[in-house]
């Protein structure tokens, strides 16, 4: 049976707790609070109620028939996380963590964000529960994701642009960690992906697993069987784990995570630690990292702010090493092509992050028979990305 992580947060050699001593007590407190509530019927009932009435779950599975026909191979199905309230899968997790924060009596929540989706989802639950909310966001990302910055502000959050390092997601995470260590007693750090120190990778996975659980029953209902392949984009990897986890023991379903190859792996300008990195320690856990030979973390590049991160959740590292999942990477241009294809063929504007998963599906579908099923996690909608896409086309909005 698949039973990871162990009690200290290890997925084989990956995961663990690598933080400064000041945070150890807070992490232990979170671990014990989560142990107490994770199987608590009342906690679960509240979580499910919120997912239904606030998020609008279950999210449908939609058959992208016209695009599949055009590609001329396997049928592409989309798990529509883009239809969730706030426009992405991120809110599944922020609701769960905010419920923990309230039970711990924390009045202030902080978050890091790349594309801004996790920041918006955190600001949303903070507003709803009346919690103070501070979101750290790389200064570079503040520029390229302006609509989400304004959205967070509308929701009452303070957005702090982070000017250090590469001014992207990793630096936002450094800064959030620094805030947490300074305000550790009043503050709950809502981490948005399946990374960070244990128990975060497990907590975020558990909350996001609603995606895969729903998919399993929806697939049976609509198609009488499970898909042949799952495809999801991987930055930190939360939407992918959310879809994959309930399928891990169902070995007939092949699972593929798709990283950002940026300008191309060979150029060095990418964000693909699983495809082109090596193991190391960053942000509280051991996993694959994009790093140089001296152990310094490399600047990454992706058109999609949400994938522009040098690390990846430790469970993905483990799934890669064990071969249970495989990982591919697609370039900025391939992702953009898929973005436009979904707009034109299906009337859906996907997030640039999710467009990476779509691009990989578009590559493999034609190599498969027409009766095969590929379930792609459409993790977010693309409204936030229209400025980026317009700019690339030389259009000023």
């Amino acid at each position: 049976m698949y039973d990871f992580p162990d009690s200290r947060g290890h997925f084989g050699p990956y995961g663990g707790i690598f933080v400064g001593e000041t945070l150890m007590a807070a992490i232990e407190e979170l671990r014990s609070v989560y142990e107490r509530y994770r199987n608590d019927p009342e906690f679960i009932a509240e979580f499910e109620r919120d997912l239904k009435h606030f998020v609008g779950r279950p999210s449908p599975i939609y058959h992208a028939r016209r695009w599949s026909d055009h590609l001329g191979g396997a049928q592409i199905l989309l798990k529509r996380e883009d239809l969730n309230h706030t426009g992405a899968h991120k809110v599944n997790n922020t609701i769960g963590q905010a419920m923990l924060a309230r039970r711990m009596g924390k009045k202030r929540v902080i978050a890091e964000t790349g594309a801004g989706q996790h920041g918006v989802a955190t600001a949303t639950v903070a507003a709803r529960y009346g919690l103070e909310c501070v979101v750290y966001m790389g200064a570079e990302d503040v520029k390229r994701q302006a609509p989400n910055v304004f959205r967070m502000k509308l929701l009452g959050a303070t957005v702090v642009p982070v000017e250090s390092g590469s001014k992207t997601l990793k630096d936002a995470m450094n800064e959030a960690m620094r805030d947490w260590v300074t305000n550790v007693e009043s503050t709950f750090y809502i981490i948005g992906t399946v990374a960070g120190p244990h128990p975060y990778p497990m907590i975020v996975r558990d909350f996001q697993s609603v995606i895969g659980r729903e998919a399993k029953s929806q697939m049976m209902e609509a198609f009488g069987r499970q898909p042949d392949r799952l495809v999801a984009c991987v930055g930190g990897g939360s939407n992918a784990i959310g879809l994959f986890y309930p399928y891990i023991e169902d070995e007939s379903v092949r699972m593929t995570g798709v990283e950002a190859a940026g300008d191309g792996i060979a150029t060095g300008r990418h964000a693909a630690p699983l495809c082109a990195g090596k193991p190391g320690v960053l942000h509280g856990n051991r996993s694959y990292l994009v790093q140089d030979e001296n152990g310094q973390i490399s600047d990454t590049h992706s058109i999609s702010a949400g994938l522009d991160y040098p690390g990846v959740g430790p469970e993905h590292a483990w799934l890669k090493d064990t071969g249970r999942a495989d990982y591919a990477a697609v370039t900025d241009n391939e992702a953009l092509d898929a973005f436009h294809a979904l707009c034109r063929f299906e009337g859906i504007i996907p997030a640039l992050e999710s467009s990476h998963a779509l691009a990989h599906a578009a590559k493999i579908a034609p190599t498969m028979d027409r009766d095969k099923l590929i379930l792609v996690n459409l993790s977010g909608r693309g409204d936030k990305d229209i400025n980026t896409v317009a700019q690339l086309a030389g259009i000023q909005l």
Binding site: E21, T22, L23, M24, E28, V181, L282, Q296
Partner: protein, 265 residues
């Protein structure tokens, strides 16, 4: 006997407290580091903490982050840092040197190789900021085999259970983080710190040094009354930041001299 242990024994005999300045290796320019280290000793440093630059110094405030960034502009690697220590040792065989850094560069070199080469260069202790004892088994084995003291942090939030765990693996000295937060923060409550240090003494049979937030004569003096040593980091890095290359050594030496007077006085 290790250099760190003999340093504390000598201080104890003289009724003195340890002055432990921190600088980041390679800041502001790799050619200045060895000179700065000698300057620290000339100013009265008993032990030098030498920061290994890292791209993502999660536990550091802006001052030491910028020091890391300046050093990394020159591509300063762990290997080069060890080279600086070896060069320092050509003229100073006595002052203990403790490397302070994050785990990933150590891991990239390989624990075994790192420990052996660090020892050969003249490193006495290593403080790995983001590696708690629970994750440190292999690292500690390498340090023990090489004869390097693993230095650990104890925080205001550390439970007595964890203090016991840290006490069981630490050697050299322990570093009490005097406040919740990152390096370079302010607002110290010395009566609270004193209570904590006295509690820690019941469980830890090593010298206890205080750092984070020590920035002037008054805070250095207060800290030295409570603890066996005082670590001063961000304030010295600031001195370097505000000096030009010609005056950096002189200014840093003068500042350390004033700290020495404060804690001896």
């Amino acid at each position: 006997m290790s250099r760190i242990r003999s340093a504390f024994e000598k201080l104890g005999k003289n009724g003195q407290k340890a002055l432990i300045p921190f600088i980041t290796a390679g800041d502001p320019d790799p050619v200045l580091t060895v000179g700065l280290m000698h300057g620290l000793v000339a100013g009265g440093a008993d032990i030098i903490e030498l920061g290994v630059p890292f791209t993502d110094p999660m536990s550091d405030g802006p001052v030491i982050q910028h020091a890391s960034e300046r050093a990394l502009k020159y591509g300063v690697s762990l290997k080069q840092v060890l080279g600086m220590v070896a060069e320092f040792r050509e003229k100073d065989t006595e002052t203990p040197i403790v490397l302070m850094g994050y785990l990933n560069p150590f891991e990239a070199m390989g624990y075994e190789k790192f420990a052996v080469e660090a020892k050969a260069a003249g490193v006495d202790g290593v403080l790995t900021v983001d590696c708690p004892p629970e994750e440190a088994d292999q690292l500690l084995d390498s340090f023990t085999n090489a004869g390097i003291d693993p230095i650990f942090l104890i925080a205001p939030t550390t439970t007595s259970e964890r203090i016991a765990k840290i006490a069981s693996v630490a050697s050299g000295y322990v570093y009490y983080v005097s406040l919740k937060g990152v390096t370079g923060a302010t607002h110290l409550d010395f009566s609270e710190i004193e209570d904590r240090v006295n509690e820690i003494r019941k469980q830890v049979d090593l010298p206890i040094c205080i750092g984070f937030g020590i920035r002037d004569e008054s805070t250095a003096k207060s800290a030295s009354r409570i603890a066996d040593g005082v670590v001063i980091g961000s304030r010295i890095v600031q001195e370097i930041e505000q000096s030009d290359c010609q005056s950096a050594v002189k200014n840093v030496t003068a500042f350390v001299t004033s700290m020495r007077r404060a804690i001896d006085g």
